[in-house]
Amino acid sequence: MVETKEGYKKTLFGKIVENKPIRTGSKNYIITIKITSQIFTQPGHFFLLYPENLSMTKKEAEGRLISYPPSTLLGRPLSLAGILQKDKKTYLTFIYKITGVGTALISEKKPEDPIRLAGPLGKICFSPPNDNLKRLFIVAGGVGAPPLFYLANEYAKKGRSLEKLYIFLGASTANEIPIPQEIKAEQEYIRSLYSFLEDSRTRLLISTDDGTYGVKGLITDLFEEHLKKELSLSSGEDILICSCGPKAMLAKVVKASERFNLPVKVSMEERMACGVGICQGCAIQTSEGRFKLCCNDGPVFSGDEIDWEC
């Protein structure tokens, strides 16, 4: 765990470096936040980003300090997409979709604006590259992609035995694909997020619901099709499947993986208040009929731990 402010382990104050739609006209945003401390993170770690307007907190009225509750109370949990440590500074990049008031407020923030965040949170992350693994299948739905981009980069960098890195990326329409139109034109902290795409072992397959980009249809169908092909080449002992996205998509990925007896790891999402296991708000039903907490028992789970029916 990381000490960030004397006595406190989790609260960080950062500055927005960039915050913009990831593609022209997209509802998916990419935000990079600079913090002055060094932190250690893994793929799967998430942060709570607080939408409040921090620059207002020092205002005074008639010589008296004003303080008031924030307009939105809770931090928004976002999985880390990438981290770049440079010149004793840390650049944290997230990709998020505007889904409500909180994310809308975050999208209003401009470069140089201060932001409060808490993290890295989450106890169980994706495992670091392992030397027996030859084929990694990544299945991502929309803004479920960020922790998987982070994972893909780790494997591209450190997966010595890796032979094939499949990235299946599903989106509703071309605008919503969480990859910038021109990666080369981006700053280093964003470019580095996508360096796995330059790896010769990588194969990126995209599908959209409306066919405006890539294959028209469900990403899970594309995934199953290629998985079968790979399994016809050799048995699945060296395969791992990792996924993040809408629950219905995850359920299909897990079902397909189980059909072929392949290990599958999923990063889950649930409404959350504290992020550290105190509020018990982010419960997820397990296949054993119990509850686990997304924040503290995850967010990464084995596919068979989750009850996909409910």
Binding site: L73, R271, Q285, C310
Partner: protein, 311 residues
């Protein structure tokens, strides 16, 4: 100027009026992950029941304008595991701890309270008779003055060497009736308010956001209601009988904490504010200090109830 932040909670001296309230502090030790607990006067555990409870189906929480609706359903490990696994860690916290308990019958409350008697580091037992999120027990006890009196008296008889706190619900016609019943039966301290019933509907799915449909509302939205209830209970029951109140509901800033004390609270609970801002205890403490300086008040406890008689 030295500011004395201590408050006297029925004989127990707390070094700060700030108390982490039940449900927002885990069993205690978890809170140290995010908050400097040395800034708190006391910590209240989540509700402990006789047997372990898994809690309600997710989704369990929904944020609304100015508030949070929760329906956790008293998820907890049960009193035996609490004593075995959590109590040893609680002993190392260095902050006074209150254990909040709930049962489905008076006997069950008593059995839990009896088990707490041997835990020296626990200074008070808080009766949760106000949880809106379970189908039997909880709030049903807190709505009927007769039951509140019986329950409080029964637990009081069994409890040895600990203060007895009764936590009241605002979801009643007249909170002073319930407060009077609890005090009459021997409550040493009252804490109020618990959450208010609330509901939020996802208009696109056309169903409630929370799986159980409704839950308890907390946060800044309920602060005026909390201030009002504390003021009422203070002026009609607690002031004359010298029963301290832990004022709870929507405390997010130091101004809120001061306001709560002026209404009649001896100590101030922080709950949802902890989730919103992990630096809340430190920021409120600093704010209280500078307020006292500018008002030339050297003891925070002298604020209690100042605004209660305004006519």
């Amino acid at each position: 100027m030295q500011i004395d932040l201590t408050v006297n909670l029925s004989g127990q001296i707390l070094k700060s009026p700030l108390i982490a309230v039940s449900g927002t502090a885990g069993y205690g030790p978890e809170l140290t992950q995010i908050l400097d607990i040395k800034k708190l006067g006391a910590i209240t555990t989540k509700t402990i029941t006789e047997r372990p409870r898994g809690g309600n189906k997710p989704p369990r929480i929904a944020e609304v304008a100015g508030g949070l609706i929760n329906s956790i359903g008293l998820a907890n490990i049960g009193i035996d595991q609490f004593i075995e696994k959590k109590y040893p860690l609680i002993c190392k916290l260095g902050v006074p701890v209150i254990v909040n308990i709930a049962g489905e019958s008076i006997e069950e409350y008593c059995r839990i309270a009896e088990k707490l008697n041997s835990l020296d580091k626990i200074f008070a037992v808080e009766l949760n008779i106000s949880c809106p999120n379970i189908s039997s027990g909880g709030i049903e006890f807190g709505k009927d003055p007769k039951i509140v009196e019986d329950l409080t008296a029964s637990v009081k008889k069994i409890t040895v060497g600990k203060k007895l706190i009764v936590k009241l619900t605002p979801n009643v016609t007249d909170i002073t009736e319930i407060a009077a019943a609890a005090v009459q039966a021997g409550a040493d301290i009252l804490s109020l308010i618990n959450t208010l019933y609330g509901m939020a509907i996802d208009i696109w799915k056309q169903r409630p956001i929370i799986s159980r449909g409704f839950g308890g509302v907390s946060g800044p939205a309920i602060k005026p209601i909390a201030i009002y209830n504390v003021w009422r209970v203070y002026t009609s029951i607690c002031r004359d009988r010298r029963i301290p109140i832990i004022g709870i509901g929507g405390i997010f800033t130091w101004q809120d904490a001061i306001e709560m004390m002026l209404a009649g609270a001896t100590a101030v609970g922080i709950g949802t504010g902890i989730f919103s801002n992990h630096l809340i205890a430190e920021q409120i403490t600093e704010g209280i200090r500078s307020y006292c300086k500018s008002c030339r008040i050297d003891r925070i406890s002298s604020l209690t109830g100042i605004a209660s008689s305004f006519q």
